[in-house]
């Protein structure tokens, strides 16, 4: 456990001290400022627009962190062999991989927590100045949506970990992770589209079969997008929260454990 935690900690430190993270924070702050200005252009549902923009900014900044820093944290270890320093110590490869995964999750947690709190500012401002009484808003749902952004990023971290465990260079891992993210984000919509339009278009059985496989193989990332609910203060069932959270935990376990199996057999010449 010490080994896993130590790896997680240096991974996190290396990530948080990276200069790119300042860039990401500056982009996020600019977007928050832009949100505050942009909302004045809308008529009534101003809080909705502010929530959309704020939560999208948090999510976007989190994704940038994972794709530019998270992937790179693996990439440097494997491409430049920083990993020698770790696995020449009493740290098993599984411990290394799990520690690395947890370090990246910790990094995305800190980014989401920091930006999640900052993201409330444009919302508070828009609520103060342009609140329309028929609009619904609930801070609880807002922060549940922020937590779900974090869960989504944790799943993306697990995917990055899985791909980094067997690809020979970090760029391939980056591309694969991005593809998995996009597929995971859209399978549910594609599946819904195929289900709702069967009579109108000819859907080949192979296509719907492939979509079905993709739905079960790739994570259903859209299940962790609660921006609409936050924007309109729509209630979320407790059962929804329980099942999606369990799903996330199981999915991450599968991805990381498969990663450790692949990593055990890997050589570092």
């Amino acid at each position: 456990m010490t080994a896993v935690w130590s790896v997680a900690l240096i991974t996190f430190k290396e990530g948080i001290k990276n200069r790119i993270i300042f860039g990401i924070f500056i982009i996020a702050l600019l977007l928050f400022a832009a949100t505050t200005i942009l909302t004045t252009l809308f008529m009534r549902d101003i809080v909705k627009v502010a929530v959309d923009l704020s939560l999208s900014t948090v999510s976007f900044a989190g994704l940038l962190t994972l794709l530019f820093i998270g992937v790179n944290l693996f990439g440097k270890d494997l491409d430049k062999r920083t990993i020698y320093m770790v696995i020449s110590r009493p740290v098993s490869r599984s411990q290394y991989l799990i520690g690395k995964f947890l370090g990246i999750v910790l990094l995305s947690f800190v980014v989401v927590a920091f930006l999640g709190i900052l993201s409330a500012i444009p919302v508070i401002l828009s609520k103060r100045f342009y609140y329309y009484p028929e609009a619904r808003f609930d801070w609880w749902i807002y922060f549940i949506a922020v937590i779900y952004i974090f869960i989504k990023l944790a799943i993306v971290s697990a995917i990055i970990t899985l791909f980094a465990s067997f690809t020979s260079n970090s760029f391939i891992a980056l591309v694969l992770s991005l593809v998995a993210y996009i597929i995971g984000q859209s399978t549910e919509s594609v599946r819904g589209l195929l289900a709702s339009q069967v009579e109108k278009i000819d859907v080949s059985p192979i296509l719907s079969y492939m979509v079905e496989i993709a739905y079960y193989v790739f994570p259903n990332i859209s299940a962790f997008d609660l921006k609409t609910q936050a924007a309109h203060g729509l209630s979320i069932n407790p059962s929804y929260i329980i099942w999606t959270a369990l799903y996330a935990i199981f999915y991450m376990t599968i991805a990381v454990v498969i990663g450790t199996l692949a990593f055990k057999r890997r050589e570092f010449p």
């Binding site: 010490t2 080994a3 130590s6 790896v7 900690l9 240096i10 430190k13 290396e14 001290k17 990276n18 440097k76 430049k80 062999r81 920083t82 020698y84 320093m85 770790v86 696995i87 020449s88 110590r89 009493p90 740290v91 098993s92 050589e267 570092f268 010449p269």
Partner: protein, 246 residues
Amino acid sequence: MAIISFNNITKNYKTGFRKKKTALRDFSLDIHEGEVFGFLGPNGAGKSTAIKLLLNLIFPTTGKAEILGRRVADREIKKLIGYLPENPYFYDYLNPIELLSFAGKTSGMDSLKIRKKTESLLNTVGLWSERKRAIRSYSKGMVQRVGLALALIHDPKVVILDEPMTGLDPIGRKQVIDLILKLKSEGKTVFFSSHILEDIERVCDRIGILVNGRLVRIMDIKSESLTRPLEEIFIEEVEKAGGARE
């Protein structure tokens, strides 16, 4: 008992589809307690391969490697090994204190011991005044010295150094040689590779010459002093083995 032992190891690398390169061929070697063993050979002879096998970074195709009588795959023995990779590269944004703290913790040391050892080691390698700077601002020689400190933080019984002298200026090389002699005086076993002959000659008890993946000669230079210059012997062995590849 042998501290390090290679038993009939062959290591093949895949270099392409159905193509392979043999880095080590039927390689056997025993290194004894308290000895400084120098590993000599032209570039690409397989020195690094042999060292990486000991650290379980790569796996032998056939044969087995053991340290202190235990298989190298056993994670516990790594508490007793200090390793400096060739051209080491560490985390860019961390400073030596953070790196040494990580190394100490994973080797099972408590934080008080880590702090004391960090200070003495960084003084030894001459980086104490630079300890708060991130590694990315370090020169190649400084990185090499951080690597040495990392290899020694947990007071290992066996020290394995891959090309510890490359990239260092004459003063740095002298420091490394003094360090190896100090380790020897503390009763540690040191196994290191180099292609700088005079350095090896100054500190080693025994020398192994590796050419094209084969161990062609082992010399005990402490008990029987050399009759001819080491350079001459080395070149002769390389030519006998058909010259260095490439």
